[in-house]
């Protein structure tokens, strides 16, 4: 259903209706921002990257293949842009400061202050773990866990094979597990501790 409306909005945008593209932005801004944030670990930079990804999508909308999911297409643009940013960041790394931890209000499901604090600590912890991964591994983890994309979809997005994605994901998981070995896991949730 949402893919039908996506296709319609794409057609309307191509016909000159800017409002239709606004609908697409509203529908996918959270997905695009989350991917940028998980990849870049900086809220401001993630917003810039998300905006740039949407601008690129708009500029290249004529190249979009309607047989593919718009969400996957826009996420693929975002991931390419984020990897470019990470490469540029490495080339022109001037700041010695650690990135600021995300704000506790980053997640929407935080009804009480205690839960907000726990969620914030978990957020920082996981983001710290992700930050240690190479961008290629990080991207696969984010696409698999936050978007629930299949190996085939991820492989299509990253222009590689399913077995390569499987292998990358396992190595990423193993690298994260190795990092856990050297760090004590905060007792966020009994389920995490006891499993």
């Amino acid at each position: 259903m949402s893919e039908d409306t996506d296709a319609l909005w794409v057609q309307q945008t191509l016909a000159g209706d800017q409002h239709a593209f606004g609908e697409l932005v509203l529908r996918y801004e959270r997905d695009v921002f989350n991917l940028a944030y998980r990849m870049l670990n900086d809220r401001g930079e993630a917003e810039d990257a998300a905006q740039e990804a949407f601008l690129r999508a708009y500029a290249n909308l004529e190249r979009y293949d309607p047989s593919r999911s718009f969400k996957t297409w826009v996420l693929s643009i975002t991931s390419n842009h984020c990897i470019d940013r990470i490469r540029r960041r490495r080339l022109t790394w001037l700041s010695l400061e650690e990135p600021l931890p995300p704000h506790p209000a980053l997640t929407s499901d935080t009804p009480s202050p205690e839960e907000a604090t726990v969620a914030h600590e978990r957020e920082v912890f996981v983001q710290g773990l992700l930050d240690e991964l190479s961008p290629d591994y990080r991207l696969v983890v984010v696409l698999r866990y936050w978007y629930d994309l299949s190996y085939a979809e991820i492989a299509e997005m990253l222009d590689t094979t399913e077995s390569a994605i499987k292998s990358r994901l396992f190595r990423a998981r193993q690298a994260l597990a190795d990092q856990l070995e050297s760090q004590s896991i905060p007792a966020f949730d009994p389920a995490l501790e006891g499993s």
């Binding site: 917003e47 998300a50 949407f54 601008l55 997640t107 983890v141």
Partner: protein, 190 residues
């Protein structure tokens, strides 16, 4: 051995993706329990999996969609301005080309008519000769005036001959005392 390890890793990966059947999961469990190191690794992998699954999507600022649409609008205005600028430039070039052809033709015609007309060439040459002769006369007259001044007042010439070297000497002395030689030396070094 390597194949077994790879198969074991694949099984763990598939288990985390919920892709194993009950039997396969049971077999993996048994394999894990055989080695404390494998059991520890498996536990950490499941913790990583649970941690990653526990985080929701990060939420952007409310203004993100507005910013995107504003940037698109700004881009379109810039594109329109660029197109207008390009159109203006193209029209200007066409107009310039249209003007250049008649102007250039007129200039060529004028040059050709001038060159091919002996009367005009003679007038131009006569004008040039008159100007040259006037300048030569002026210089010769100036020389004559100077010569007559020197012969009429020889004291003035002698005074000038003495005053000029003296002024130069005094000038050099003042420059030297004010540190001019040092400044000149610095300039050389620089």
């Amino acid at each position: 051995m390597v194949d077994d390890r790879s198969k074991f890793e694949q099984s763990m990966n598939s288990a985390l993706d919920h892709e194993l059947s009950e039997e396969e999961l049971h077999a993996l469990q048994e394999q894990v329990e055989e080695s404390p190191a494998a059991a520890d690794n498996w536990k950490r992998l499941r913790q990583v999996d649970a941690l990653l699954r526990s985080l929701p999507l990060a939420v952007p600022a409310d203004s993100l969609a507005g910013k995107v649409m504003a940037a698109i609008a700004a881009q379109q205005i810039a594109e329109l301005a660029r197109r207008r600028h390009g159109l203006g430039l193209a029209l200007g070039l066409v107009a310039a080309a249209l003007l250049t052809v008649p102007l250039l033709s007129a200039l060529v015609l004028l040059l050709v008519s001038t060159i091919t007309n002996p009367g005009t060439i003679a007038a131009i040459l006569q004008g040039a000769a008159a100007v040259t002769s006037y300048v030569v006369d002026l210089v010769a007259d100036l020389g004559r005036q100077l010569r007559s001044l020197a012969s009429d007042t020889p004291a003035l010439l002698a005074l000038l001959t003495a005053v000029i070297p003296m002024s130069m000497l005094w000038g050099w002395l003042v420059w030297y005392l004010l540190g001019g030689s040092r400044l000149a030396g610095d300039k050389d070094v620089l």
